[in-house]
Symmetry: D2
Subunit: 145 residues, 4 copies
């Protein structure tokens, strides 16, 4: 997707310890970058994870992750983690993510979170205030969300 | 899938540093466990990665990864990484993986690798000897592979 | 130190993701291996960390770490983490550790832990039962401990 | 040491995956932060690691590391990695490092590198141009270096 389709982006730099013997980022470390992107997304939204969400009695757990590797990131690359909330379900959130080096997409993927009771980890509806904040941030029309 | 559907399994133990503040394994670390499982799969097959493959002028790069999180693994868990080669394409390999604690599946997923020229990283056909070794190991009938 | 000077040893294998672009284990990952060694030491002692210690109202925090790198470990190496409790202070424990590939010491180091109240993290005396168990395990004469 | 004693500082933020079940950064991850600090030190010096050094036929390997843990860093902390070159030996470099949250030092330590031939990994003298650049950057009088 073009960069303009993403409401949010966060820049990071590839660390020495994240690169493997092939000279490229180890495939699992992209989920580390996605996680940093999601963290900064929540901060930008005004609900820094986890305290900004836990105080409303709700927490988020990853349910699914998918990644497609187009081209490798290498040591010292400056990368943009692009984050877009694609769907707000009754108790789930679906994020699309892309990792770009300048205008080259290297990795694309998605993360599906379930909104859950922190103690029981069973799904509960996404709180209304969070739903509205995300719709505003993403400029999603309420009926389409 | 039942454990019996997997030709290969490797046991590991969750380390302190792999567990996060929620007391569960960080979502990206399951790709670390999958990678260990694939490494041991190649060893069991008789072609330890990477030297056992590179010497034939071919290398493997992850093209896609997908994970579904059913239940969390916690610190000190003994886990079995179950690995099954589900499809041998012209230049790609599709593995199914599951992570079990005793008989409870915690995470399931897949990894798709492309067989590539180590220098150019462009796809090349899976070598015949590798294809045959994998078919034997997985007891896949050649026509179905 | 010769291997015979260590009461305890634990074997592990270097993972792909732990090796960097120089083809050797990233310097910080040896503390990961030391931590695994200490974890298994506590298990062998009969007090699996952390529950076996926390139930007595005491916890352990690393106060100092030191490492000396003699020769690099590489991908797929089988390594022995050798652990020896060198000193039991009033509220501290000093461990000596070495990482060997066969009979070659690759890394040597020490970890100093403080025994602390889990809530306040302030130092408290090492409980007597732990002190005695460690002296027995290490065959340290009580007066020398 | 007071912050003013350090010629260089780099800010980073603690990631979710770097924090353990005690809610604090895993002790080995501070070497990851030290490594990021050293990387940025080389960049600021004008010799980005490793290409800016390798092109002169020399490389750097960690020989010793030491850490003292004063207080834990927690998730989402903004930390400054303070780096100071304390000694330039014939073929070795000794760095002092501190990790601060605002004006509170959390971890202090040192890293000793050996300057080596990239192929043989045997020690070779620190090149003159590097020695001079570092003396200028640190404002070390040549005779004291």
């Amino acid at each position: 997707m073009p960069r303009a389709d993403f409401a949010f982006s966060h820049r990071l730099r590839v660390r020495w310890a994240e690169v493997d013997r092939q000279g490229i980022v180890f495939n699992g470390n992209y989920l580390l970058y996605f996680d940093v992107g999601i963290t900064e997304y929540w901060r930008a939204l005004g609900f820094p994870y986890p305290d900004g969400i836990l105080e409303y009695g709700t927490d988020l757990f990853v349910k699914k992750a998918a990644l497609e590797y187009h081209a490798p990131a290498v040591y010292d690359d400056e990368l943009d983690v692009l984050v877009r909330l694609a769907r707000i379900g009754r108790s789930s959130l679906r994020f699309l993510l892309e990792l770009h080096r300048a205008d080259t997409p290297l990795v694309s993927g998605e993360l599906i979170y379930v909104n859950a009771d922190p103690a029981t980890r069973s799904a509960v509806p996404v709180p209304g205030f969070l739903r509205e904040a995300m719709q505003r941030f993403e400029r999603i029309a309420p009926e389409a969300a």
